[in-house]
Subunit: 230 residues, 2 copies
């Protein structure tokens, strides 16, 4: 059985949990606090970030987009009709463009700020950067999330799923990031109905269930968080 | 003929120029100033970043790592002995891990600061963020580059090239980033001989030549910049 070193509210870890659930894989989950820089964890991933997938034979695969490529190459062909990274070069470019959009850009402009300031800082010692949240960072993220939501709405007004006619890694990455922001109540869903309907579709998939049961100690999710008809 | 929209001192653009030269491709080059957010350019890449490769048929491929994957899938198999993204799953993981290391981590900790503060700010209007360089950012980058250089030295003490026995995308990405920092004279080469020897090997490849002739208007490179025996 493969092992996934993850952090429950790390959006990149959530993306990989979604991929593996869609592929019918049930990894052994190990919760990491990356800021503690555990030595064994750094041996698996010198960059010190979650997630890291470790195969039964010992191969460590670090980083969400690298794991996504790896799983497509080693498991994806078995999915026939439901390949999460499609076959044609142009379709692969579009999926990877949007993967980058959400794993890098959305993370830098929205999720990174909110998850660090509102969640992880609660569990960090002051030595590791813990302390009260930086309200400027939170305000910036809340402002930025609005144009990303519009962009999702724009894409979904022209396509069935974010990158085209089929569900792909792009949908799972975007939804994984949004799920963290949604836990915190910071997605203004009433501003874009197309985006909301798309998220409701992704959220209703069986692969999403385990994400919706995770809780931050001492911090309840937004009321509608686990509600499939929000 | 393919067109590459690039910026001469954007390290990601330099990486793609190296790949294409190694593959024997000679793209038509179009210099972009991404901060000007030219409308036609944003249509090709809504994220507004360089590089963007445009195929003769019109397909736009945005972003260095996406272009690298695309070129491997559409041209790489033709390289037989010199495939820049090797075949085996474990080797691909290692190349992609190091690609991420240099394209993301090194960029965020070193190149991004230096190129923005010392080069791009000279050409930006104040409206686009131009102005005098932020010395704190430059100091941080100069401090960070030292441990990256050690890491390169550590890898090269155990392997012929960064990711293993063959030249791969990892070497080209790392060298592309270092070439920008080296232009500015900010690589402390005397701190790591292994790293310096590795860089001299990459820099001596014919694919590197065109990078070494680029100049920033009004700013000469470090003395040894174009010297293959520095």
């Amino acid at each position: 059985m493969a092992t996934l070193h993850h952090s429950s509210f790390c959006p990149h870890s959530r993306f990989v949990r979604l991929i593996m659930a869609e592929m019918g894989m049930e990894p052994h989950l190990v919760e990491e606090r990356p800021w503690e820089r555990r030595e064994e964890f750094l041996m698996m991933n010198p960059a010190g970030t979650t997630p890291v997938l470790v195969e039964e034979g010992g191969l460590a695969v670090p980083g969400a987009s690298i794991i996504a490529e790896y799983l497509d190459e080693t498991r994806g062909l078995g999915l026939s009709g439901l390949r999460l990274l499609p076959e044609s070069p142009a379709a692969r470019v579009e999926v990877r463009r949007l993967l980058d959009w959400f794993l890098q850009k959305f993370d830098q402009e929205v999720t990174g700020y909110l998850v660090t300031e509102k969640i992880h800082k609660r569990f960090m010692t002051s030595q590791h950067g813990g302390g009260p949240p930086d309200m400027n960072a939170i305000r910036a993220a809340r402002s930025n999330v609005r144009y990303h939501l519009k962009y999702i709405g724009y894409l979904i007004s022209r396509r069935n799923w974010l990158a085209g006619s089929q569900l792909t890694y792009a949908d799972l990455a975007a939804a994984a990031h949004l799920s963290c922001v949604d836990y915190l109540g910071d997605v203004p869903w009433d501003e874009d109905e197309m985006a909301r309907n798309w998220y409701a579709r992704v959220k209703s998939r069986p692969s999403f269930r385990s994400l919706l049961t995770d809780r931050v100690a001492g911090m309840a999710p937004a009321d509608h968080y686990a509600d499939l008809d929000f």
